[in-house]
Symmetry: C2
DNA sequence: CCTCCATGTGAACGTTGACTAACACGAGAC
DNA sequence: GTCTCGTGTTAGTCAACGTTCACATGGAGG
């Protein structure tokens, strides 16, 4: 989408999103002030409102973007791996890669969902549900037989395992953490 | 400590702590108001200050209490299981039990650490570090050979796996989730 | 050159929320 | 009976913060 020019309206905007993600991850949505986000983006205070309708709107765009990115990735993997065997492995690799490269987004997504306005929250939840269902399907086709509730629990446990990086990775050892997480997730499922 | 009578000064106090934990878990520290905590505890507003010195002080007591409880439990397990073989299993069972029975505390602990005043935060971090070290030691003695960084990553991944309950468990299926989590954690380590 | 639009600024404004102050009231000690 | 202490209440106070307003400025298009 958006094939038309639209030049460079995105530089400052993207910068604001990146800095806001960092601050939300560190201090939480309510613990981060608009002035703080502005300062981090090299702009002061209400300039944010030239790019986003509100603080909640900023968060909404961030979380919807994450959910769409993950779902798109998972759908591409499903299309590329029709066989059940390696599909789960590809999903694991995808999630590990995301968790290692964008830990702030992982943190914000499962911490500040509740601060979204209703409509965006429903949208994000729908996207997340679709993503989880792809995982549940792949888990159901692989490994030991399990009831639907057990599969659901297993899927969330795998996310918890992989998404533990923000709490442990010192950024330097991201390269070392990847294989460990992949191996553990594979063994757990 | 505190062997002297002291009758029942704790009923209202404990109630406040319980309700505050629920609200902090749902809305976050900054998203929860003192009046809201009071209302949930059947008391209105500033009555909180008859029991706690400040909102931060309330959070501090909650998080320090959790960390001490976990560390005490882990130390008891170490004492009761000198052999490396079943020690890790006991640690896993202990953490699974805690995560299933007090999911709000799990949520608050890894979400609102940053909102503690400096001194309490240092104290909680020290307790957490000791707890993690017990796990690292047990992991190092069991399973495949790993470097210290890998052991550290593995420990945090195990916590993430087990602590995923607040995101998945519908409280009714806690009984079903327990065995799944235990099995997955055992397989992952 | 003049206009317009995107982007920025600093100064309000209104609300929320943590915390304090002043007062009430019931129970146990003397 | 009175004093005191623990616990509660309601009415402030004060700072922080999201948001709006009025105004500046600089580049693109006629």
């Amino acid at each position: 989408m958006d094939l038309i020019a639209h030049a460079a309206p995105t530089r400052r905007r993207d910068q604001i999103l990146v800095e806001a993600a960092r601050l939300f991850a560190r201090h939480g949505f309510h613990g981060t002030s608009i002035d703080g986000i502005g300062a981090a983006a090299g702009v002061s205070g209400p300039a944010i409102y030239r790019h986003f309708p509100s603080k909640e709107g900023l968060l909404a765009e961030m979380l919807v973007g994450i959910s769409e990115h993950l779902l798109d990735g998972a759908r591409a993997i499903v299309a590329a791996h029709p066989g059940a065997a390696d599909r789960l492995g590809a999903l694991i690799a995808f999630q590990v890669d995301f968790a290692l490269h964008r830990p702030e987004l992982i943190t914000v997504q499962d911490r500040d969902l509740a601060n979204l306005p209703d409509e965006s929250r429903r949208r994000v939840r729908a996207l997340q549900r679709a993503y989880v269902e792809i995982w549940e399907d792949a888990i159901g086709r692989t490994g030991p037989p399990r009831s639907p509730e057990e599969v659901r629990t297993a899927a969330h446990a795998a996310f918890g395992l992989i998404n533990s990086t923000p709490r442990s990775a010192s950024h330097t050892d991201a390269a070392h953490a990847g294989p460990v997480l992949t191996a553990m997730a594979t063994a757990a499922l």
